[in-house]
Symmetry: C2
Subunit: 579 residues, 2 copies
Amino acid sequence: MPKSTTTVAQHLLNRVAQMGAAHVIGVPGDFSFPITDAACVHPEMKWVGCCNELNAAYMADGYARVRGIGVLTTTFGVGELSALNGIAGAFAERVPVVHLVGMPATSTQALRAIVHHTLGDGDFGAWAGMSSRISCASALLTMDNAVAEIERCLNAAAAHSQPVYIGIPADVAETPLSNSSLPQIRQPLRSNPASDHDALHAAAEEILERIANSRRTCILVGSIVARLGLRKQTTDFVEASGLPFATMWMDKSILDETHPQHCGMYSGSLANDQVREFVESSDLVINLGAILSDLNTGIYTAKLDRMRCITIMRNTTTIAAAAYRDVHMSDLLRILCVGCKRAPKKSSWPSIQGLGAPQGDPEGPIASPFLFPSIEQFMRTGDMIFAETGTISMGLLSARMPRGADFMNQALWGSVGWAVPAGIGGALADQMRRTVIVTGEGAHQFSPQELGTASRMGLNPIIIVVNNSGYLTERILCRDPEMQYNDVQPWNYSALPEAMGCAGWKSTRVQTCSQFAEALAAASHHGNGTYIEVMVPRDDLPPFGKSIRNFLHSMRGVQVVNHPPERPLEALTSARYMA
Amino acid sequence: MPKSTTTVAQHLLNRVAQMGAAHVIGVPGDFSFPITDAACVHPEMKWVGCCNELNAAYMADGYARVRGIGVLTTTFGVGELSALNGIAGAFAERVPVVHLVGMPATSTQALRAIVHHTLGDGDFGAWAGMSSRISCASALLTMDNAVAEIERCLNAAAAHSQPVYIGIPADVAETPLSNSSLPQIRQPLRSNPASDHDALHAAAEEILERIANSRRTCILVGSIVARLGLRKQTTDFVEASGLPFATMWMDKSILDETHPQHCGMYSGSLANDQVREFVESSDLVINLGAILSDLNTGIYTAKLDRMRCITIMRNTTTIAAAAYRDVHMSDLLRILCVGCKRAPKKSSWPSIQGLGAPQGDPEGPIASPFLFPSIEQFMRTGDMIFAETGTISMGLLSARMPRGADFMNQALWGSVGWAVPAGIGGALADQMRRTVIVTGEGAHQFSPQELGTASRMGLNPIIIVVNNSGYLTERILCRDPEMQYNDVQPWNYSALPEAMGCAGWKSTRVQTCSQFAEALAAASHHGNGTYIEVMVPRDDLPPFGKSIRNFLHSMRGVQVVNHPPERPLEALTSARYMA
């Protein structure tokens, strides 16, 4: 190929590299060879082959949470459909994964040929149609539209912080573009449309006035802040205003948990009473990018009257009953930072306590009072921790993360099995930081294969598998915890790294507190992957898990998970989150 | 619950039990608890919990291929989306999997509440919409429509032999039905609409006349025959007519391979020359339910002139250029059986040869000439063999299966990783037969987890994992076999059964011909699961694989996989298969 040309696939990889991606994660297939060929030889990108596509999608999700963009490639039909659950999670939780799907050549499609990976009915558009619901933009590339459609999709991914779907017929992927036609798109991607100037300033003025007149204001900092890359600006606003902030389940560690204005976790009436009392007695609550889902609101036990709430989402701000549209969060934060005078400290607030010292007999079994505080103490400045959504997160949510440490979970989408591949994706995305992954053994069975991929990529995650003999989260959610479907096949988990070729990894099964402490200490010094299977009693629950279980039992007659209150948290309707 | 009532979930399970299902395969989730609760206590059904939903869908597919119906249950969003690739494969290959999806309660949906497993936007219909493209019928049950919609969907599954999607809100699943309202649906399910009487008889007459006037007729027996439960009728027709039959890739063993009228595998110009010559020189070719896909036609090298073809599909028969619609295959076969006089044997035909004796130095490495003939010799009357679609199938397609043995693969949909879970599903479906599963190690990495499930269910599959150090099928399809994306992480495969808790299984890695022979011999006598990792050279290809590779290399300039001939096999357009 002459030096003066770039193929469509190369151009696409150039653009995602400019956005910050350094790896293409996926599984090859014959229709996607032109994409994987380009990925393997691209000067700035590395190919990361996964064992299957769902795991690859989780990895791209974890990667994008850390790096701001993830690139996934799969093949037509079989590959892309396997990835859908992972992409849907990224869409729900606003993680920008660029999904590149290799399609049969244009001529094959035109002939409606019966080829593999189709239904045999000549329809080549079915799979793109299924993905469109979970993509903020979708395109099927042709030789004519490729450059423009790539820009449209990548701009959308950047602006919405959500997945995009780009279907690329094999012949189109290899079509050369003249380099001279491409200079205008070397600029950075537009990240946002401009705010409505009037709405922006009216909203800002109203918010500043409400803050000034409030006796007690509390900020709820939410995950959308991180997804939109606004953690620094949010910290600036928090500090300029002097206001305390709490975080909810999905939102843990979005701002530094050692910050003196941090008051801990809010989860309605199910977790910390001091924080609940503080938030719910505030006469002004500023929700900055938090999603009021069932898990975030302590299963709808949160009491947040819309008339004392300000809700700032990506592009819409709601003050009591009034919505201000086309107000971008970043523009609003900038004005609020400048405009808010540091309030005299009108009141004290709770401060985050953390889990305290691990409790347990050194030679006795490991249970929650030892398990979770030990993990908390193990965390170091700048670490990343990926926690499975269920009882693992319940145990860790009240832990105090050290400065600069990130706690990742997936509590809106809640796909079981996310943590291990997503954590490996995170470790890949930032290899200077230490990655700790904590999962339950039931969840681990969904997606164990990428242990081998982590080893192959030279990553050194510390993986803690809590073996509690079944799906513990389901045991507390269902009517009869003894139902057979909550049991899983007992594996020898600590044998998995060896079976999956993780050379040089340290893998142990621990049964006593001192063994666990030793294993963690060893992990700190082991310059390779560490895998720790932690045996715990079958029904061992952390306090927050007990609180959820007891609440559900008390409400069993009305099946609260399935029957939220009649007007659930009308301060935020479901429709507003996506705004 | 009073004895005189049945809940919607119980009723649904009663109906699928009447259709022949004895197991509910799936993964539990909180929205689907009412379904899994009902499955665990149903007197005629057993619960089979899998490690993840895609594996569960493959298992249900394998189960349904053996038993005529499979029942899969997953939870809303996360679970059902993970299963989509497996369901799409069942749709493409006409396998009736009933997919029961547990949804949030009606009241939750009405409130548009932000609950887990949603996008947080209040849309509860998105996932059903995505599944509708790969379901021959879909329903969202309500208290009012449940009984009627269940009947509609199950009838469709039986008639089309394809998946159906039934979404069941948690409250609806537990709604009691009065038993007295249910008697009319105790009857067997309708399997087909009636044929158009005129079209049926006109088509039959025309076919009989063409057979009578033909110098040489060959039948191509296809997978649709098996899916519609018409193997017996097809054998009757073959015997009544005295006509020889060949089979293609997807269609292997649909009729007994020891039958004297069987002439072997037809795969265009890429496999058996004698069979090609015989089929292509016949002046009449009767395609009985075979799909003329790329893999079935030797990558479009098959030469089948539509004017000498009769194509009999589920509900449409095409004779040369004329289509007869609403002619059901079963009705047509019945008339043809009666009407066709056993033709005097006008010609001889090739007879299936099989692979011959295994060739290899007992103490030397194992390669194709030893590997595949050894597997052929290992097969016994009535066995089921599940083969991964790629080079594994290429090696086994020309093997001669013993009487009553079934060879299963997935060559239209071609999802890598299908064989092991599907084979375990098959073993579950008929525990009186022996199940042999053959896969490559790259494919095995997609879905190894259900080894543990097989053990837990007390199944004794014989699993042969051919370790050829990467994706060999991709190496022969792509431009440069050395591309990095064809490599996979080297696992210690033979350690997997132990790691996954397969108590009492025999697992070995074999490197020489005599070791493999011994391992197979031991498998014959081992009353528990057997797992054999077979080390073969990296680029070892069976003859059919070499033929495909050489053909692709010779056509490389025109990328034949992606560029079928201009008028590919117009005897069958893609649109016709689904008729």
